[in-house]
């Protein structure tokens, strides 16, 4: 089964710095998504990048996708303390419309004020 794995597992930076998280996956995908999870809370969808896209921006987020390397990165620029959360990549599995998401282990980001 396809699987996303993020690295690093944990990242601690100062407010204002940029944070980069990486995700690798195993099988072909038609899109890859990033979600955020604040401690003990639900998952919030951040951004979806399709397999024919190489880069996508949303506010302070920049996502890249390299299908040849089966990897994606999430860059958060000018980080804030409120960005402290776990970040997961997820890929859809299956061929039907109700496709389950397969999540990676996540990167725990801590932004220090």
């Amino acid at each position: 089964s396809q699987q996303g794995e993020e690295d690093p597992q944990a990242l601690s930076i100062q407010e204002g710095e940029n944070a980069t998280m990486n995700c690798s996956y195993k099988t072909s995908i038609n899109n890859l998504q990033w979600y955020r999870q604040n401690s003990g809370r639900g998952l919030v969808h951040l951004i979806l990048i399709r397999s024919n896209e190489r880069e996508k921006h949303s506010g302070r987020l920049r996502v890249t996708l390299d299908t040849s390397k089966k990897s994606s990165s999430l860059l958060i620029t000018a980080s804030r303390a409120a960005d402290t959360a776990s970040y997961f990549c997820a890929t859809p599995l299956g061929s039907g419309s109700a496709r389950q998401l397969t999540f990676g282990s996540g990167t725990q980001l801590t932004v220090l004020p």
């Binding site: 003990g40 599995l93 109700a98 998401l101 996540g106």
Partner: protein, 114 residues
Amino acid sequence: EPEVTQTPSHQVTQMGQEVILRCVPISNHLYFYWYRQILGQKVEFLVSFYNNEISEKSEIFDDQFSVERPDGSNFTLKIRSTKLEDSAMYFCASNSLAGTDTQYFGPGTRLTVL
């Protein structure tokens, strides 16, 4: 902005008891999902549901689990006889008919089995 809601936020139960976790998906969504996350582990898929039937289920979703959409708004996950290892956060998610893979998650129910 519409959102997925879940109740209760925290459920404590004794091993062997039945629990029902409730979810209200976004109103115009037609695909519904349950996931769980054991503390410190990955989010794992349990089951997907469309057109009043299960679309897919994982190995975790054994005979102890069932899902139901009893009316036009609620989507429930029932665990018939809870085990200690069922302790986890359970997340409901939904998405629209447009076929987008973006899923909208509820805040989760923390299930503690004693």
